[in-house]
């Protein structure tokens, strides 16, 4: 990177491209004061800011020495910038303590594209929009032009919008081939709407801003994961087949496993989210939030787990960092003072939708250890081989935490604390790489502590902002952040009003899931009225066929997962990661590379018999017909059960792919 002192200002550039620039006429930094107001309703936030002052820092004093530069804005702040070939690390020293808002402009080109900001669900390329970064429920519908979203907004304040995500992160990757990360957990808003600059807003003066560049996106992925950590490999058992999301007690769950096996479905695990019991609410079935085996609903579970483990089928459960008022663990935690409280020290219960829970104060080392030990005892020692480590987004901003830090700064950190708690439970019991938990919430640093993301709660439909297509966007944007292992609820989760999962949706979702690292079903929030894979034989047969193809891909997938663990190169990749020269690849968010050798274009719309997609220049073989393609826009037939999947003819795995295409 190159720092250039100019008349009245300076610039920072990499590979000939300007990243930062400052002059009194075009100031780089604005600072000021704001008064925020936030309201949370069931994980959905209404956030407003009253900006009292916002002014440019115009006149900089620059001192340069070796590889460090000090840029002083007298009485306001100082930047200490360490510059190396591939990086610029800017430490910020705050002088004016009245400042609580910070905006930095990053030089942009009109045709530049940007990616990341955590796991974004609606738009992969962030350019042209602004992205508030605050972990929350992602919303149901997520589209203010859809009546379903607006109705759900009215009834539950939960319709959401394009930027709502469980996993936001103040980091982006630019097509100028750098990433920029702001070291903060405060509320941010990254604004990519301007043509000449990106404006990044932070509700504090951040300690550090880090920019690293690389000659290629693959190398950049390595640098990002060097910073945030890398995910371990997945356990071997996960490649045995699908994880079946079933529930309703020992008998029903294992009967469904047997029925699935009977219909030829390879089963890697059975995931019972209600292993700890159930609650019924108007939204649908919810869980008994006391994370211990429920003997009434799951009699003989230990014996059954053992019996099926011997057949190669693991049992997975569920947990989250909240405890239902009145349950055994809640009572214990309350007695010990392990919950976050109101300002006056009294109980703070959070509404999760017709039931109320305590928030385990993960900033209290004793509470953290207690919760970790609960995981060790009630989940790991009990024998679970995995779980959904759900939630993490609901930290209210008006509670009191043990570490004395404002919840405004802890809110975005909470998913990482929650992930770390799970991670350490595994690490300390030697179970890393054997047990797997999967999360939807995230933040900067989640990379190291979360072995598997799942795409959260899609609606059971083909909508572009909350349906099947969002899973691809989620996988690709998380991939840019260094979270290279991603999967989703096959068939989606949320069914409200008359929006019901169809057989077609379930099968199209299965088609996609077969070409991701992990396949897992979910019955959704209203199992009885939504289509389930076991509802008809034809579905089970197609599901079995695609799961077998997935299992047969294991050698290839394991190689990718290993590459992710070692180099931080994600399993699902945007096309441009391997075809940097091809400008057509940069806006693609409905197809992806599954490793370097496979291109997957799921059918993401309803009632399609074919799929149009773009192939970068290469020799591509259509998986199911063996037909060869050279690149460009192509259309292939996509009857149910046959997604548009291609492999590179030159791949070292070509014969494996060829045999899968022939056999399934």
């Amino acid at each position: 990177m190159k720092f250039n002192v100019e008349e009245n200002g300076f610039s920072l550039s990499s590979q000939g491209k300007t990243i930062l620039e400052h002059s009194p006429e075009r100031p780089m930094i604005y600072v000021g004061k704001g008064e925020e107001s936030l309201e949370m309703y069931r994980g959905n936030f209404d956030i407003e800011d009253y900006v009292i002052e916002r002014y440019a820092l115009k006149h900089a004093k620059i001192d340069q020495a070796d590889s460090a530069v000090r840029v002083s804005f007298p009485n306001e702040l100082e930047l200490i910038i360490q510059i190396t070939d591939g990086a610029a690390v800017m430490n910020i020293v705050l002088l004016n303590t009245e400042i609580n808002r910070f905006w930095i402009r990053v030089a942009a080109d009109a045709d530049e594209k940007c990616y990341g900001c955590g796991e974004q669900m609606s738009y992969f390329n962030l350019r042209g929009r602004s992205f508030p970064l605050w972990t929350s429920e992602p919303g149901v519908g997520r589209d203010k032009t859809s009546l379903m979203t607006l109705k759900y907004d009215l009834e539950s304040k939960g319709g959401g919008d394009y930027y709502n995500t469980n996993y936001p992160q103040p980091t982006f990757v630019s097509t100028k081939k750098y990433y920029l990360h702001i070291d903060t957990t405060a509320y941010c808003d990254f604004d990519f709407t301007h043509s000449a600059y990106h404006e990044l807003q932070v509700w504090e003066v951040p300690k550090q801003i880090r920019i690293e560049s690389a000659p290629s996106y693959l190398e950049l992925a390595g640098k990002i994961t060097e910073l945030f950590g890398r995910q371990p490999e997945l356990p071997d058992w996960i490649y045995n087949g699908a994880i079946l999301g079933v529930q309703g007690g020992t008998e029903r769950s294992f009967e469904l496993v047997d029925r699935s096996i009977h219909h030829g479905i390879p089963v890697a695990g059975v995931w019972c989210q209600d292993w700890e019991g159930k609650l019924v609410t108007s939204f649908g079935l919810r869980l008994q939030w006391n994370w211990q085996w429920n003997k009434e609903l799951y009699p003989n579970l230990p014996e059954k787990m053992k019996e099926y483990k011997e057949k190669g089928i693991r049992f997975l459960g569920y947990i989250n960092p909240y405890l239902l008022e009145g349950t055994a663990l809640y009572n214990e935690g309350k007695e010990k003072g392990y919950f976050a409280t109101k300002e006056d020290g009294s109980d703070y219960l959070v509404d999760f939708g017709e039931f109320y829970c305590g928030v385990v104060d993960l900033t209290n080392p004793d509470a953290y250890e207690w919760y970790k030990n609960n995981i060790k005892r009630d989940l790991i020692e009990f024998g679970l081989d995995g779980w959904m480590a759900d939630f993490g987004e609901y930290l209210p901003t008006d509670l009191k935490l043990s570490n004395g830090v404002s919840p405004m700064l802890e809110h975005n950190k909470w998913p990482v604390r929650w992930a770390q708690c799970n991670y350490e439970a595994l690490e300390e019991t030697g179970k890393l790489g054997e047990i797997v938990y999967f999360m939807r919430a995230g933040g900067a640093g989640i990379q190291k502590y979360c072995p598997l993301l799942w795409a959260g709660d899609q609606s059971v439909d083909f909508s572009m902002h909350d349906g099947l297509a969002t899973v691809i966007v989620g996988a690709l944007s998380a991939a840019m952040m260094g979270c290279g292992l991603h999967h989703s609820d096959i068939g989606g989760y949320t069914s409200i009003y008359d929006n019901l999962r169809t057989k077609e949706l379930f099968l199209r979702w299965t088609e996609m899931a077969a070409f991701t690292p992990v396949m897992r079903t979910h019955e959704g929030n209203r199992p009885a009225t939504n289509f389930q894979y076991y509802d008809d034989v034809e579905t089970m047969e197609i599901f079995a066929r695609l799961t077998k193809a997935h299992v047969e891909l294991t050698p290839y997938i394991k190689e990718l997962v290993k590459e992710n663990a070692e180099k931080g190169i994600p399993v699902q990749r945007p096309l441009f990661m391997h075809y940097e020269e091809d400008e057509n690849t940069y806006d693609i968010q409905t197809s992806y590379l599954f490793g370097p050798d496979m291109l997957v274009a799921p059918v993401y719309l309803e009632a399609q018999t074919s799929r149009e997609l773009y192939l970068p220049e290469d020799e591509w073989i259509h998986l199911w017909t063996g037909k060869s393609y050279r690149g460009g826009i192509v259309t292939v037939e996509t009857p149910i059960g046959y997604p548009a999947v291609f492999y590179r003819k030159e791949s070292s795995r070509a014969s494996l792919f060829e045999s899968i295409g022939k056999n399934y």
Copy 2:
């Protein structure tokens, strides 16, 4: 008023109450730069501002001489404040021409209330909310918690919100007994959400800010209308009965007049909005926007007008400042270059909802004269005795005007230009006080040029944000601005989806209208499917009875109208205008004083058999029963046809009221 120089700052106070205050710690003025973006769709605006800078002006230099003070903020701006007993007039000299955003904080008390900001429809007391001031369609539903509003937002971007109004004005009245007016036509946002100050935002540095105080609200009304002008008296013929809004041609319209007379309805006028012809759109019936007699639809109109005028019944028409593409007047205007154009000089047609019109450029003196002469020739000489002077809110912000001024500054001025054009047409033909036109659009200065407001296009329902109740709020807030003559479409106007006018709504609306200066019906946008007064005999009889009562009130109403013309005291008044000491009166927006001696509490909700209301301490006689009340919260029976109306026992008109109560 008192200006006090203090250490590091100053304050301005009146009657012992602080109005303005400044110190470096509590700056009075913030300035900065913004980049707005506006989109208009059929008169509904989507307005956003990107505030690049906003900073406090902290250090003031104060020079005092006699009754004037100069407050300098070096390099930014100077205030030249003229101070007299009852007023402070602050002229602003801009030094830093980069500034295009201006915020001034006005000292507030926690329990202070504020009114005005033009004709507000949802909230009379402005405190606790922020009011963007930009003339526009008021919206259909106007309530983001109603599904109708949200649906209409989606389909037509026209759902609106609580602050949308045809008539905004950057002026408010405080219960500290002053008014504050900002002399600007730029976009404003008056923010009354803060407890210690009101923050008034202007999208320019305004030329002047004017504050006047008075010992009473009645005197303050006089001062406001001294500034903005006063409305002339209404013509005598208007007191003869109701104005019937009918349409569909000569035969149908006059047949309905005859039928009404036959059922005993006193008729002052017949108002045919389609006298110039019709268009059919999906919203409903629209008009042929070429403001000349349509001989096909209205054969023999001049003869009929003459015939009915002899019976004391006047004929009223309709006009607005736009012309439909391809009509005779449009073609003439286009040939003469009288329309506002695109930046490049090419035609600019505005979408009014499935039809497109030219915008007469009222800043072009020739175009203005031409349009005024059209009014003189085609309306006045033709023999109309009145008309609806509709619209004025649709000036797009991306067109080019003859005077070279930005449409951002002309937009809010347009309704006043349009009013003035009508006013001068009357004045120059000697018809002021004889012909009456009524407008929904307004702005500062409309007071002088608009002889009668109407409350715009309510929905045909009892909703609080777009139904009957909004007419009262509209009348009272306009009254605070000096527009003391107000009326409404009896029965409301807008019917969309399955929202249809009922007989009950029509009759409740009639009850209210009888106690306003003018009664006028409207068939609404979808006449065929909505209830009409002529739909049944019972309705016509009740309508006749209430219109007769209204006619009998003429001596009283004329006195009020005269008082409005002479002193600027509005006909419909908030209760506190006569009961300043009574704190309970300040938040009342569902009842009003009709002159000093009558208190009217319309039934504004559905399915009510009684009305609860507050009576200030006085001796009140219930109009229909003669029962006496002393004040406090009372409930009276309100069968259909009998609104809750009281008169002061001590009134000089008591015997008139008594006889009306007995006779009707």
